[in-house]
């Protein structure tokens, strides 16, 4: 008979964590901040055989800016165990990626943000979380490590469905990379119930190197992005009211929204058109205010 798995695995180094992850795979549920796993267990939705916590791995909590030599643009590197609060309060992030700081400050309550981590929220792939849509629009990637090595996965390719990622059973998400060179970025969180609730419709709109990227979150099983619709803004200095309205309507028509307690599919479709338009109007104002340059964003 196989020896049972120790129920609580608390490695203190990444190397040890990777070894345990490779050995136990999905038999051991990975715990980052523990808010999502905590809720699932508390609600009787998850009965893990074992828990693998990354909490004691100090080397996974960091925020660093690096000059990416290839593009000449700075790159924000976020250790997977960095908490939402640490990101939101970091002067480095507030200065260089203000939209990240302000968006993470919108998540749930200070209590949840003190616990929840940036790596955790991506690995959960919960459709109703705020950060995935923004990180998707920012063109962020994650580093997935295993004992065999590491690979870089874009957030777009990471989140494949409802609570489903493309991480392999022997991989751990160890870092999030957010490129700089942003000309403008906004995140709009439309809540249909209370201020600390998750979004009913979330819209992230980012312009980088003259390209527009609009990602709509919380409306389908994964973040929704339509490059062919965003291409309508190609070659334009700004986004005028007519274009903002058109992109909003096209997004609303392209998305198959889901229904949940925060809104029906029908309701969401109407809100998407409005919120995408408003996000693009906000983005336009921001680009005008900064002269299309990168005053606020590095």
């Amino acid at each position: 008979m196989a020896r049972p798995i120790p129920a609580w695995l608390a490695p203190t180094s990444l190397e040890e964590a990777l070894e345990l992850r490779a050995r136990y795979g999905e038999e051991a549920t990975v715990v980052a901040g523990g808010t999502f796993v905590g809720i699932l267990i508390n609600q009787g939705l998850l009965q893990p055989a074992a828990l693998l916590t990354l909490r004691q791995i100090a080397e996974l909590a960091y925020l660093r800016v690096e000059d990416a030599s290839a593009s000449g643009k700075p790159l924000l590197r976020i250790g997977a165990m960095t908490t939402h609060r640490a990101l939101e309060r970091s002067p480095l992030v507030q200065r260089g990626w203000p939209v990240l700081a302000s968006t993470f400050a919108l998540v749930a309550s200070p209590r949840v943000r003190n616990q929840a981590t940036v790596g955790g929220v991506l690995a959960d792939a919960d459709y109703a979380s705020d950060p995935p849509a923004l990180l998707h629009a920012l063109g962020a990637s994650v580093v997935a490590r295993s004992p065999q090595g590491q690979r870089l996965i874009s957030v777009e390719e990471l989140i494949v469905g409802h609570y489903e990622t493309s991480l392999r059973p022997d991989e751990l998400l160890t870092e999030i990379q957010v490129p700089g060179g942003i000309e403008g970025a906004v995140y709009r969180k439309f809540r249909s119930r209370s201020s600390e609730d998750r979004p009913c419709v979330a819209v992230a709109a980012v312009r980088r190197e003259g390209r527009l990227r609009v990602t709509v979150g919380a409306v389908a099983e994964r973040p929704q992005y339509f490059p062919e619709i965003c291409a309508l803004a190609e070659g334009q200095a700004g986004i005028d009211a007519e274009l903002a309205r058109e992109i909003g309507e096209r997004y609303a028509a392209a998305i198959e929204p889901l229904s949940d307690a925060r809104g029906s599919a029908h309701y969401r479709r109407r809100v998407i058109a409005v919120e995408v338009r408003r996000a693009l109007e906000d983005l336009h104002q921001q680009i005008i205010a900064t002269g299309g340059g990168s005053q606020r964003h590095v």
Partner: protein, 168 residues
């Protein structure tokens, strides 16, 4: 799951308790340590009735796996002693009716005032956004936070010393 021993500092005292690895800190605080100020209500980390401070920062004990408290400093309202300026402010202003949410409110305000000694009303409301009061005492609770800030400022003036300067 097989029980394990976890160690942390509770209200300034080191403790060692038995807990299941998939058990929440809330259960351990109530069952093993007899603390009744942490209260499970929503069980989803939304309402704030189970608030404790972990290394000085508010967290929801109803969704914190107990072993994650290993090596941490946990503070509940019992650890404030009853005469903490935030507690005095709640009494003065009478910022409660049934008192069920009060421990969570007090701890959240304590942590806020340590970070921002003179928050404006908007900041207070944001900090308390995740603490629900079903008696609806919000106006008084905000007033209590403002009164607590004044009491703490008074205390700092009377006892100037290292670390007494406001951190802005």
């Amino acid at each position: 799951m097989a029980a394990m021993e976890i160690h942390f500092t509770l209200n300034g005292q080191p403790v060692a308790v038995q807990a299941e690895p998939d058990e929440m800190l809330l259960e351990v605080l109530r069952r093993e340590l007899g603390l009744r100020s942490v209260r499970e209500t929503c069980g989803l980390g939304i309402c704030g009735a189970c608030t404790a401070l972990l290394n000085g920062q508010p967290i929801s004990t109803c969704i914190l796996l107990a072993p994650l408290a290993e090596g941490c400093e946990i503070t509940t309202v019992e650890g404030l002693g009853g005469h903490h300026p935030v507690q005095r402010a709640f009494e003065e202003v009478q910022a409660f009716q049934c008192g069920y949410c009060t421990p969570g409110m007090i701890l959240t305000i304590k942590a806020l005032l340590e970070e921002q000694p003179a928050p404006d009303e908007e900041t207070i409301r944001r900090a308390l956004g995740g603490n629900l009061c079903r008696c609806g005492c919000y106006l008084k609770i905000v007033q209590a936070a403002q009164r607590a800030a004044a009491l703490l400022a008074e205390e700092r003036r009377r006892q100037p010393g290292p670390g007494a300067a406001p951190v802005s």
